[in-house]
């Protein structure tokens, strides 16, 4: 009877140690997994956004065709090009084709998806009042792996137009 009791004590001790080790292991694993996916500024995406803004579009408002950054501003004002086409439609067509040809995202390539959001943001001086208005949102591919990206800011009084691009890669 005494021997059985001792053996039970040993087993309880052993199980206790195993439980403690497992709990610590699980805690570390959860802590590690809960860390956000690595996200950092990408110079390549930044260069893409900056270069794209100078792209000459098919939309004309005067003798000279608009470049992409002026087209974004025209779209924000909900205006039309000289050929009566909506500036926002031209922007959507041009930018989606431009991004598609530039990144060629697919599951076989390191870059597997991108998100491109253009929005207008206005923040009052005391930062109490803020306004956010979406201008265009594009997405292509299925995002897996790490994320990288960049932002390009366009001054549009009294606020700012933000062109935000995120790229997923493995």
């Amino acid at each position: 009877m005494k021997k059985i009791k001792k053996a039970q004590h040993e087993i309880v001790g052993f199980v206790l140690i195993v439980v403690i080790v497992v709990v610590i292991g699980l805690f570390l694993l959860v802590f590690y997994l809960r860390q956000p996916a690595v996200e950092h500024e990408s110079l390549n995406v930044q260069n893409f956004l900056q270069s794209s803004m100078a792209y000459t579009t098919d939309c004309m408002r005067s003798i000279e065709p608009l470049d992409l950054q002026d087209l974004i501003k025209t779209c924000k004002e909900n205006k039309r090009c000289l050929n009566e086409e909506l500036a926002c439609k031209v922007l959507n067509d041009t930018l989606s084709e431009l991004a598609h040809e530039s990144w060629l995202v697919s599951e076989d390539r390191p870059e597997n998806a991108y998100f491109l959001n253009i929005y207008y943001q206005y923040m009052s001086k005391d930062e109490e009042e803020s306004e956010k208005e979406e201008i265009l949102s594009l997405k292509e591919g299925n995002c897996t792996g790490s994320r990288t990206g960049a932002e390009y800011l366009l001054h549009y009084s009294p606020g700012t137009i933000i062109i935000d691009m995120k790229l997923c890669y493995t």
Binding site: L43, N44, N47, A54, E64, E101
Partner: protein, 181 residues
């Protein structure tokens, strides 16, 4: 009396042997726990090291990218806007022996990305209806290429009016891979 002393000594020996066994058991258990934590720690370090190595590679690439971007800003290519290459200058700069060794790179070429065009090398005869410019090539086989996006601008005439037409392209620079002798 003698018998009592004998049985007392026997009892003491038994207890000592038992505690030795217990101490041994505890030592083994502690050793197992320590080994477990060492293995878990090593596993964690290996994962972290791989992540660090990958980040270092990314930063190395970003460094090369900024070098390429700086090339676009040089007077020989720039169109006075950030990250903008004047293609009218490019066509003149092609295959100039005077520039051999001027740039710290093995090769330099520019490709049009958008609007998409048929793959045709640019010459003075077919410009601007072409898709890539070979500006400079040291003919080095062992090289690594790094590219960055740039806008490709040129002067275009519409009626009597000249304006700047810009397309999207990539500036590709080849860097020689140094090998240990």
């Amino acid at each position: 009396m003698l018998q009592f002393a004998k049985s007392f000594r026997m009892k003491i020996r038994k207890i000592t042997r038992k505690s030795q066994l217990k101490t041994q058991e505890m030592a083994f258990m502690l050793m197992a726990v320590v080994i477990f934590f060492i293995i878990a720690g090593l596993f964690f370090i290996v994962i972290k090291y791989r992540e660090l190595y990958r980040t270092a590679g990314l930063f190395e690439k970003e460094k090369a990218l900024s070098t390429v971007a700086k090339l676009a800003e040089t007077a020989e290519f720039s169109c006075n806007k950030p990250l903008c290459v004047d293609t009218d200058k490019l066509i003149v700069m092609q295959n100039r022996p005077a520039y051999n060794g001027f740039w710290p790179i093995a090769s330099l070429s520019v490709v049009k990305i958008f609007p998409k065009q048929e793959e045709v090398e640019c010459t003075k005869e077919n410009y601007p209806n072409c898709s890539f410019f070979k500006v400079y090539d040291k003919q080095i086989e062992n090289k690594e290429e790094v590219s960055t996006f740039v806008s490709l601008c040129r002067k275009e005439k519409q009626g009597d009016y000249w304006y700047e037409k810009c397309e999207l392209g990539k500036l590709i620079a080849g860097f020689e891979i140094k090998q240990l002798q």
